[in-house]
Amino acid sequence: MAEATNAIAEQFDSSEQQHESAWLGLWAFLATEVLFFGGVFLGYIVYRHVYYESFVLASRTTNLVYGTVNTAVLLTSSLTMALAVHAAQVGKNKNLVRFLILTILLAITFMGVKGVEYYEHYKDHQIPGPSFVLKGAPEGELFYYFYFTMTGLHALHVVIGIGLLSVMALLAARRRFNPAYYTPVELSGLYWHFVDIVWIFLYPLIYLISRHS
């Protein structure tokens, strides 16, 4: 969205205007993302209300430890991302690259844990379909459909984020950014924080709210 050079694109009058436009543009994009995820969240809330018992039961079969660890990992990656943007702002290019790589590593950790978790669901016959078993929760299948759809969509965003941050790291390594121009890093950062926020809500919805209620 933002031009990958220092120059001001011809439709703009100042770099100020260009930066503000890109910044607001990304926020508008995040608003659409909120509603995109919102559709599934809504479905989850509706069904949790309608099939309360089943959802509570099924939700207790998720692995709280993995969920919590992953939340911590993502929250930390948000910190490293923020620090990366800070490094860009003050022109510490080495730090920028380091923090970007750290963020990517954390994201990969997240995906790894998610993978293990998925594998365990598979072993426990919790993949919806003919082999699905969940005693006592007739709509447990529905819960797991949501579980996989929501975490799957989120994981897709994490993967996109990893790609985006890798490009940023590469560009940073080539010294493309300086304190006067780091919009792409900043915007990737916004996107990454957004992915974190989605998880901040997925975590209680999937793992927590039904533990004791």
């Binding site: 994009f29 995109f36 559709g39 069904y47 089943s54 709509e139 529905l142 459909y145």
Partner: protein
């Protein structure tokens, strides 16, 4: 009409070529980031899609001449109305005014060189076309038979047609829509020329801003809905599957959360056009500028709260029905404000009847009738009888064809000189407007009666007592077809044979008229400085000039 001959000060020496001259290669069109060229790319695309869908409508109307299903198979008919609905809605009407006129005019009207993100703008067009190709593929491969609403579980489990391809097409073009909306919002916020304050913006901009809000906030919900539906079809992810407890009504909630606001995506830009035409052709400051501006935003906002009115008999709770009904009635108020203000603008104006004005007046009439019949449907007790009958068909064609398509045609005539640098033949234009108006009413008015009499929609064969009205409707459609084809012919004709257009043939006040026709690549030779509001017209002045001319 004499205005056209009026002499103008010669345009400043050409500093850069006009946007049409800037390049003649295919490449210069396909890789352009010029909002004006992208507008034209969209124009050709949507006209193409419109004719596909219109042919489908033509065949449908022929089938409905007789009560028996004798022209096409029921299966084919289902595919025809799905094709017609999907293409008309997502590949013609939603993109029509925003992406053609909006793209072309928004930067010019606010005095900018381009939109905020020109490359994104081009990407939107490619997404739109990619979506269109998927849709075409779905049609050629055998069609889709779900109706444009894709209700589950029919679409997700039972239909044996190319639902996924079609959904992919809509999904992609939806992303195009989102990016266009995003682009417009940022453009309006950040790219205004010096002195162009919010209340000096033409109402065209206000309406498009409201439209963009809907595009950005509603379209993602359609994306996720279609995605979930497709996932259910591919992998049996049964979120709407009643067999494992899924609720098909939830699909409808999600679908209409997008699709009701979407109907305002279709009509707001048309209102945008009308708000430009009426003041120009009555040479009068628009009445109630701020009210119309805020009415646009109010429609956009309230439009998000009423989706449940499509589901009154679908089985949601009775109380939800009551709430949605009330909100649906309320959304009529801002529309009413607009209609009243347009009418009031005519008062003490100096009115002339060029083609764009005829279309604008047609719009007001047909939109009002379409909107008022919307109230029938918002009234719960009446909706139970009228829903899913031809009354609905008539209601929305009155607004979408009678309203938006007429608005689009009006806008095309109005800005044709600016876009192409040529005038269209005025008499022909007036004739086409008249034919369209007559044909339209003959096509769709009988459908109100059919609906009240109970004829269900999406029927290719019907009870014999409905025949007379259907014959009328088909007859009307043939006249309407003439009304559509005429402009296409004379527009093409005018490209070579039309009179050269001056910079400001209508003596209009918008910034887009203060630069040559067709405009230079960067719209203005120098960034304009705005010192007054839009619509700085004076009817008295106009009359005085006229008198002088006639001595």
């Amino acid at each position: 009409m004499n205005i056209i001959e009026e002499t103008h000060p010669p345009p400043p020496a050409k500093l850069e070529p006009d946007y049409l001259e800037a390049g003649h290669t295919v490449r210069s069109w396909l890789l352009t980031t010029d909002h004006k060229r992208i507008g034209l790319l969209y124009l050709f695309s949507i006209i193409f899609f419109f004719f596909i869908a219109a042919v489908a409508a033509g065949i449908m109307r022929l089938e409905l001449l007789t009560p028996k299903g004798d022209l096409v198979l029921s299966e084919t008919y289902s595919k025809l109305f799905t094709l017609h609905g999907v293409i008309m809605v997502w590949f013609f009407l939603i993109p029509s005014i925003p992406t053609v006129l909006g793209n072309f005019l928004i930067p010019m009207m606010i005095g900018a060189r381009d939109v905020a993100f020109p490359k994104l703008n081009l990407l939107s067009w490619y997404l739109f076309m990619a979506g269109g190709m998927f849709a075409l593929y779905a049609i050629i491969a055998g069609g889709v038979d779900t109706g444009w609403t894709f209700y589950t579980p029919y679409s997700s489990r039972y239909s044996n047609s190319h639902v996924i391809e079609m959904a992919t097409g809509i999904f992609l073009s939806g992303f195009g829509s989102i990016l266009t909306g995003l682009n417009f919002i940022i453009t309006v916020h950040k790219m205004r020329a010096p002195g162009m304050t919010w209340f000096r913006l033409p109402l065209f901009i206000w309406s498009h801003y409201a439209t963009s809000l809907i595009l950005v906030l509603a379209t993602p919900v359609l994306a996720i809905t279609l995605l979930l539906m497709a996932l259910e079809r591919i992998w049996g992810i049964g979120i709407f599957d009643p067999r494992i407890g899924g609720d098909p009504v939830l699909f409808q909630h999600l679908f209409w959360f997008y699709s009701h606001p979407a109907v305002y995506i279709m009509v707001l830009p048309s209102m945008a056009v009308i708000s430009e035409l009426i003041p120009c052709f009555s040479r009068k400051q628009i009445f109630g500028y701020k009210f119309i501006a805020f009415a646009s935003l109010a429609i956009a906002f309230l439009g998000f709260l009423v989706w449940g009115h499509h589901m009154f008999v679908a089985g949601p709770s009775v109380y939800a029905g009551l709430v949605f009904s009330l909100l649906s009635f309320l959304v009529a108020i801002p529309s009413a404000i607009k209609v009243f203000n347009w009418t009031a603008t005519l008062h003490r104006g100096s009115i002339s009847f060029e083609t764009p004005m005829l279309y604008a007046l047609g719009f007001i009439g047909l939109f009002s009738l379409g909107g008022l019949t919307g109230l029938f449907l918002a009234a719960l007790g009446a909706d139970v009888h009228l829903t899913d009958t031809y009354f609905i068909i008539a209601h929305f064609h009155y607004i979408m064809v009678g309203g938006t398509v007429l608005g689009f045609m009006g806008g095309m005539h109005f800005w044709w000189p600016k876009i192409t640098g040529r005038m269209y033949p005025e008499k022909m234009g007036q004739l086409a407007a008249l034919v369209t108006f007559i044909g339209f009413n003959l096509t769709f008015f009988p459908q109100f009666i059919l609906g009240y009499l109970g004829m269900p929609r999406r029927y290719h064969a019907y009870a014999p007592e409905y025949q007379v009205y259907n014959v009328l409707s088909t007859a009307g459609a043939s006249i309407l077809a003439v009304g559509y084809i005429l402009p296409v012919i004379y527009f093409i004709w005018s490209l070579h044979k039309g009179k050269k257009a001056p910079a400001n043939p209508w003596n209009a006040t918008g910034l887009e008229w203060q630069t040559p026709s067709p405009p230079p690549v960067h719209n203005f030779y120098e960034t304009p400085l705005v010192v007054k509001g839009p619509y700085d017209y004076s009817p008295e002045e106009e009359e005085r000039k006229l008198e002088e001319r006639h001595g």
